[in-house]
C-alpha cells in the first residue's frame, strides 16, 4: 500500500510531471511564471485546490454518481464542484491571506479553467484510484505543477536578458524553453524505485 502511494507520488512529481509530460495546466504555467513570487503563490493555491478537488470529487463520484448510475454526468459534476471550490478558496484567501489574494489577482478564478485540476480528477476516475490514492495523486500532482512553474519562473527571469530573434518575443521563446525543460525531465522516464 505504502509503495503504491509512493510510486504514485514519484510518478506525479517527476516521471509523469503534469506539465512536462502530460501538458495539463499549460495556460497558467505560461501566464503566471514571470516572477518567482507569483509562481510560488500560484503553485501553493493549485496544490490546495487539486488535493481538495480530488478528495471531494472522489466522494461525489463514489457515493452519488456511481450509486445512481449517472456515470455520464461526471464531467459536468466535476467542473461544477471545482468552480464552487475555487469560489470558496477565493473567499477564504481574501479574508485570511489578503496579500496572497491580491498577488494572485485574476489568476485565482482562472484555476477553475486550469486543465490540471479537471485533468487530475478525470485521471483519478480513469485509473480507478481509491480515496487515499486519489487525494495523494491530487496533492503530488499539484506539487509537480509547482515544481515546474517555479523552475520555469527562474528560467524566465534569465530570459529577460537574453538575445533572441524578435519574432520569438512573448510565448514562442517561453515555449521553446519549456520544451528544453521537458527534455530534461525526460531523463526521469522509466524510473522505478518503488
Amino acid at each position: 500500500m505504502l509503495t503504491n502511494i509512493l510510486s504514485i507520488s514519484l510518478g506525479a512529481i517527476l516521471i509523469n510531471n503534469f506539465i512536462f509530460s502530460q501538458f495539463l495546466g499549460c495556460c497558467p504555467f505560461l501566464g503566471c511564471s514571470n516572477k518567482m513570487d507569483t509562481a510560488v503563490g500560484m503553485g501553493i493555491a493549485v496544490i490546495f485546490v487539486m488535493g481538495l478537488a480530488s478528495a471531494i470529487c472522489w466522494v461525489v463520484n463514489e457515493y452519488i454518481l456511481m450509486k445512481l448510475g449517472l456515470g455520464f454526468m461526471q464531467t459536468l459534476t466535476y467542473i461544477l464542484v471545482i468552480a464552487v471550490l475555487v469560489q470558496f478558496v477565493e473567499m477564504f484567501l481574501k479574508k485570511s491571506v489578503p496579500s496572497l489574494y491580491s498577488a494572485l489577482g485574476i489568476y485565482l478564478p482562472l484555476i477553475t479553467t486550469n486543465c490540471a485540476v479537471l485533468g487530475v480528477v478525470l485521471l483519478n476516475t480513469q485509473n480507478n484510484y481509491n480515496f487515499l490514492e486519489s487525494t495523494v495523486y491530487g496533492i503530488t500532482g499539484g506539487m509537480g505543477f509547482m515544481l515546474a512553474i517555479c523552475l520555469f519562473a527562474s528560467v524566465r527571469e534569465k530570459l529577460e536578458f537574453a538575445d533572441y530573434p524578435k519574432c520569438f518575443e512573448g510565448f514562442p521563446i517561453c515555449l521553446v524553453s519549456a520544451g528544453l525543460l521537458s527534455l530534461a525531465f525526460m531523463g526521469f522516464s522509466g524510473m522505478k524505485i518503488f
Partner: protein, 235 residues
C-alpha cells in the same frame, strides 16, 4: 462584420492558438497523428459552434453575475454529448484522445469566445464565428500533426491512410522515408512545445511583416499626397 472578414480573422489575424494564444494544452498534447488532429479539431469545431449558438440565443436572459457558471454548464453539456457519441461511434478516436475530450470543457477557446463574442452578438454571427474559429484551430492542429509526423517518423496520415483491416484510427499511415531517419524527439512532449513555439513565432513574424508593409505603403501614399499638395500650392 462580413463573412469574409470573419473567415480571415478566424484563420489568420485572430487565430485562436497562434494569435490569441489560448487553448494550447490540447494542441501540443494530441498532435502526434493526423487522425488525432483532425478528430480533435472537428470535435472542438462542433462543440464551439453549438455552444456559441446556444449562448448567443440565451444571452438576453442570463443574469450577469452567474454568466460564467452558465457558460460552463452549457459547454460541459455539449462536451459530454460529443464524448458519448464518440465513444459509441468512433471509439478509436475516443481512446487515442483519452482524457483530452472531457478537457475540452476547460479549453480557453470556447469560454473565451463565449465571454468575448457571443454575449453581445446575434445568433447568426456567433454561428459563423464558431465555425471560422474552429476552422482556424483545426488548421493549426493539422499543420502541427503533419510537421511532427513527417519529420518525427517519416510518416503521413497516421490513423487515416493505410489502416489495419480498414478500421479507422489504426495503422501508421504512409511511410515516406524509413522511420529511423526521423527526429523521434518531435513525437515526444518536447517536440510539442518546440513546434508550437516555432509556429507562433512564424505567425508573429508574418503578421509583423504584413503590418510593416502596410504601414510603409500608407506612409508612401501620404508622402505622395503631401508632395502633390505642395506642388499644387506652388503652381
Amino acid at each position: 462584420m462580413t463573412t469574409k472578414q470573419q473567415l480571415r480573422e478566424g484563420l489568420i489575424t485572430n487565430n485562436p492558438v497562434l494569435v490569441q494564444q489560448i487553448g494550447m494544452c490540447a494542441t501540443m498534447a494530441i498532435t502526434t497523428s493526423l487522425f488525432n488532429g483532425i478528430g480533435m479539431g472537428l470535435s472542438v469545431l462542433i462543440i464551439l459552434t453549438c455552444c456559441n449558438v446556444v449562448i448567443s440565443a440565451i444571452r438576453k436572459i442570463i443574469p450577469n453575475e452567474i454568466r460564467l457558471a452558465i457558460f460552463v454548464v452549457v459547454i460541459a453539456g455539449f462536451v459530454t454529448i460529443v464524448d458519448l457519441l464518440l465513444q459509441a461511434f468512433v471509439p478509436a478516436l475516443s481512446e487515442s484522445l483519452g482524457v483530452f475530450i472531457p478537457l475540452i470543457v476547460v479549453n480557453c477557446i470556447i469560454i473565451g469566445r463565449a465571454e468575448a463574442f457571443c454575449q453581445h452578438e446575434p445568433v447568426g454571427l456567433s454561428f459563423k464565428d464558431g465555425i471560422f474559429q474552429g476552422l482556424g484551430y483545426t488548421c493549426v492542429l493539422i499543420i502541427m500533426c503533419l510537421f511532427r509526423e513527417f519529420f518525427g517518423k517519416g510518416a503521413f496520415g497516421g490513423g487515416l491512410i493505410n489502416t489495419v483491416n480498414g478500421v479507422i484510427g489504426t495503422g501508421n499511415g504512409v511511410q515516406i522515408f524509413p522511420a529511423k531517419y526521423g527526429a523521434l524527439i518531435l513525437t515526444l512532449p518536447v517536440g510539442g512545445f518546440m513546434c508550437l513555439g516555432a509556429l507562433i513565432a512564424v505567425m508573429q513574424y508574418a503578421l509583423r511583416r504584413s503590418a510593416e508593409k502596410k504601414e510603409a505603403q500608407e506612409k508612401a501614399e501620404r508622402e505622395a499626397a503631401d508632395a502633390a499638395e505642395v506642388k499644387e500650392a506652388a503652381e
